[in-house]
């Protein structure tokens, strides 16, 4: 017999499964309490979460396909409803079970690696802020409607300036701005 109360993480994952398939969540809990090992529970639970997220995604796509006509996109063209994400910024949209798996592996196997993750995030934020600062200083306007909405897509390349040169020049400007 396993303990009566599963861990917080197990309960959270069971709730995800339960949202689509209540009997499956009940079965997993019943089997675990009957004495199945922890490894069995985690394997089954992760597969159940993946299946649940797939079912939710398939359900959303089916709902969108039932709309008689597509939604208008940029420049008047119709977007394929199956490619739209109308569900908002949920975990499934940023990686879902895969992201959760990566977080668990890092936490269990090499918790020190979180330092690198946070350093990467901090570095990204720093580069972003510095880029905004530099572009403001140069008085550049943002991208117009005819170009993709990408931060680096706004950099104009001249005949004399290649992309590596742009990167180098940007770095020189960044260092110069800091030294001022």
């Amino acid at each position: 017999m396993n303990p009566t109360q599963p861990s917080f993480l197990v309960v959270a994952l069971l709730r995800i499964v339960e949202s689509e398939n209540e009997p499956l969540a009940g079965d997993l809990l019943e089997e675990w309490r009957a004495g199945r090992p922890r490894r069995w529970l985690w394997t089954q639970l992760l597969r159940a979460v993946v299946t649940t997220l797939r079912q939710k995604r398939a359900g959303s796509a089916q709902l969108l396909r039932s709309v008689p006509s597509g939604l208008p996109g940029r420049q008047g063209q119709l977007l394929d409803p199956a490619t739209l994400n109308l569900r908002g910024p949920r975990v499934a949209s940023v990686g879902g079970a895969g992201l959760l798996g990566i977080v668990m592996v890092i936490t269990v196997v090499l918790p020190q690696a979180w330092f690198l993750v946070f350093a990467g995030v901090a570095g990204g934020v720093l580069i972003g802020v510095a880029t905004i600062f530099l572009r403001r200083g140069r008085g550049l306007s943002g991208p117009d409607d005819s170009r993709p909405l990408s931060l680096f897509g706004a950099v104009e390349l001249t005949d004399l300036e290649t992309r590596p040169q742009v990167a180098r020049n940007g770095l020189i400007r960044l260092v110069a701005a800091w030294s001022d």
Partner: protein
């Protein structure tokens, strides 16, 4: 018109449900497959297959009791329909027909 031939996993699930009998839900069906088929199965895969079988009319489902061991969650009991039985027999016939007269398999035990 729904298809009548089953995949190997669907066939195993239907046969396991028949062996379990009235109290056929995810856990005993998965245990039956593990016991007789010698393979570990994911409960999520069992339910995905059962949902598919239900949509095709091969099984019918009803809600069972909710027990404390299940955290108050109800069981989903499955019963093989006459159409499901017909599909099992058709699949068996198709497999036997494929099986017979294969020279490589003659005189060998499985």
């Amino acid at each position: 018109m729904p298809r009548e031939l089953l995949t190997d996993f669907e066939l195993m699930i239907l046969l396991a449900a028949l062996r379990v009998g009235e109290q056929a839900y995810g856990v005993p069906i998965a245990r039956e497959i593990e016991k007789t088929g010698g393979r570990t199965v994911a409960l999520a895969a069992v339910y995905a297959a059962l949902d598919r079988l239900e949509r095709n009319g091969f099984v019918s489902a009803s809600l069972g009791e909710a027990t404390p061991e299940r955290g108050g969650r109800a069981k989903k009991l499955f019963e093989v329909t006459p159409q499901g039985l017909r599909a099992i027999k058709q699949t068996q016939r198709a497999l036997v027909a494929l099986w017979t007269d294969v020279p490589q398999l003659k005189g060998r035990r499985a």
